[in-house]
């Protein structure tokens, strides 16, 4: 155990690290979770989901380049049997959010998500990406069309691109939850619910009613479900075969 801080940089050459781990660190991403006592790991999606643009340091952000190697490590590490995704996010970069969602959805290990506080905007696909999703009663999820800020060159092309991007979000959500495409679009383009904006702010039990989220519940329900799924996921050889 090393008590001093080691920065991820070119000069950082730890002797006991494997070449692969060193490579990941040199790329400025997080190190691989080590075998630990806990068989369940926690991924928190907090603040803004940061994509290609780096936000100023005073913003609380979730960087996808940190999360993706961690998800690979979770998949690879045999000691880790399940993953809990905690969401309290305002949304953020669509492509980064979809990348995280696809990574969570394609994990072979059982995953459970809990929406606490807020799972807005691109937080919706991340929440539904887990095998089983929970929302606490007081949490809200804002569903709205995707938008863009900044300078636009080539308006028709940009519009087409944005339209396709929106379809990808809608397809992902409908594939991984029980909501129908029509209902999701209805919530997304609803008028009069949000001040000066199009969309709907869905509160806890409503999200379950619409079929976006599987159940209302907190940590207890999520952990029970995850442990149950871990038991089901155990390979056959653990049982006595005559």
């Amino acid at each position: 155990m090393n008590d001093s801080f080691q920065q991820n940089s070119q000069e950082d050459k730890g002797q006991d690290k494997s070449a692969l781990v060193e490579k990941i660190q040199q790329l400025g991403t997080s190190s691989v979770p080590q075998p630990a006592d806990s068989n369940i790991h926690v991924l928190s999606i907090i603040g803004q989901v940061e994509g290609h643009m780096q936000l100023p340091p005073q913003n609380k952000t979730t960087k996808y380049e940190h999360l993706i190697p961690q998800l690979i490590a979770i998949e690879q590490n045999p000691k880790i049997e399940g993953l809990v995704v905690l969401l309290n996010t305002v949304g953020g970069d669509v492509e980064a959010g979809l990348a995280i969602s696809e990574m969570i959805a394609s994990l072979s290990k059982p995953t459970v998500s809990i929406v606490l506080g807020g799972g807005h905007s691109i937080g919706v696909p991340i929440a539904v990406a887990a095998d089983h999703s929970y929302v606490v009663e007081t949490a809200t999820m804002t569903i709205h069309p995707i938008r863009l800020n900044g300078l636009v060159i080539g308006v028709p092309q940009t519009f087409e691109y944005m339209d396709k991007m929106q379809d990808r979000v809608i397809n992902f959500v409908t594939r991984h939850s029980n909501i129908t495409e029509d209902k999701f679009k209805e919530l997304m383009f609803a008028k009069g619910n949000l001040t000066r904006d199009i969309g709907t702010n869905v509160v806890g039990d409503k999200a379950v009613e619409y079929g976006i989220i599987d159940a209302v519940g907190g940590v207890k329900e999520a952990m029970e479900k995850l442990n149950e799924m871990i038991e089901q996921n155990k390979p056959e050889e653990d049982q006595v075969v005559q």
């Binding site: 090393n2 008590d3 080590q34 961690q70």
Partner: protein, 69 residues
């Protein structure tokens, strides 16, 4: 001065380059962390980036703790 705009603050007042340079990513006790360089040869833990819940119980890794570089 009050700016009435839907744009976010950082779109109008871009952050200075130094703000980014003080924030470092690395590992401490095998745990990936985000730290702030306090400039006196110490770094201050800002955030743990680990997925292992046990890391969050380690009192050496609590946010705000200063560690020699």
């Amino acid at each position: 001065m009050i700016l009435y705009t839907p744009l976010s603050e950082h779109d109008i007042f871009p952050a200075r380059d130094e703000d980014y340079q003080n924030v470092l990513y690395g590992s401490l006790r095998n745990c990936p962390v985000k730290v702030m360089d306090s400039g006196d040869g110490h770094v201050e833990v800002v955030q743990l980036l680990s997925t292992d819940p046990q890391d969050f119980l380690d009192d050496q890794l609590q946010p705000g703790r200063k560690i020699k570089r």
